[in-house]
Symmetry: C2
Amino acid sequence: MREDSPLTKGTAVNVQNKRAAPIEALQVAPLARPPNYPKAVLDLLGSRLTGRTKRALGDHFGLSNFGVNLTQLAPGGVSSLSHAHLLQDELVYVVQGTPTLCTDEGRVVLQPGMCVGFKAGSDQAHCLRNDSASDVILLEIGDRTPGDVVTFPDEDLRARTDERGWQFTHRDGTPFTDPTP
Amino acid sequence: MREDSPLTKGTAVNVQNKRAAPIEALQVAPLARPPNYPKAVLDLLGSRLTGRTKRALGDHFGLSNFGVNLTQLAPGGVSSLSHAHLLQDELVYVVQGTPTLCTDEGRVVLQPGMCVGFKAGSDQAHCLRNDSASDVILLEIGDRTPGDVVTFPDEDLRARTDERGWQFTHRDGTPFTDPTP
């Protein structure tokens, strides 16, 4: 899933600028992880999503109807937890390197110039890993249909969007309870 | 503008297939121009949009919330008539070659790995030309917000989407009248 939530505008650098100049995608500032995630989720993501750098190209130009991330995966890096979207379509295009697409149907190594799409509601959980010795660069595209629900078959985790951004719960809907500081 | 209208499903090859395998983008079948356009519009497009080949990657995977076109421009090719969208965001990423971005602010030659976005309603008409001696490959991404209106500052032409797909009129809203066959 994309963490550049439609409703979390902190990472958008050019929302007010209706006319941004063309830019080298790698010059767009990398995304930080939204600090308002529950600590348990931040810990989970931090321990599992290593070696990745995401740049929100669409946000850079103030686009709000869809997100386009340029995602770099160092060797060993993982793009996301394995997940499926209920309402949002998703497409990944391989710019550079040989990422491994992981789904419940197995693993397949992709080549530059290949693409794969995930139709909303198809329930095909997926992630991309870099099992190679060289960097991978992906374009990840997803729309921002409100009320999306994201399921994570390998985790006790569920997410949905509301007006505050991504909201995470345990799989059964129980809220995360951060430890008292 | 994208001609793979959300409402013109004839070019979608995998709409019923919720799980399509990864594919080399250049192996997706090129789009044909929708035959239901008025003859005057087909003539205009045919005479002006030379040397381009579009492949609807999103449609291939049955995606409907946004379109992703892989667009090849031969030397001298043009991606689209200069146009601006009222409701749909748009982003272009340069995969290969050095296309020239043409806007009312001038012309700028882009390099592979560069991107440019056009916020809905920004009224920034644009197109991409291949003024180089080598092929250009672009990814063009746009959402499919219904009721979009497209303006063409250099043409006596206007388009909007409705449930039938793209509808073209003269700039003042007068319908095109095809010659009686």
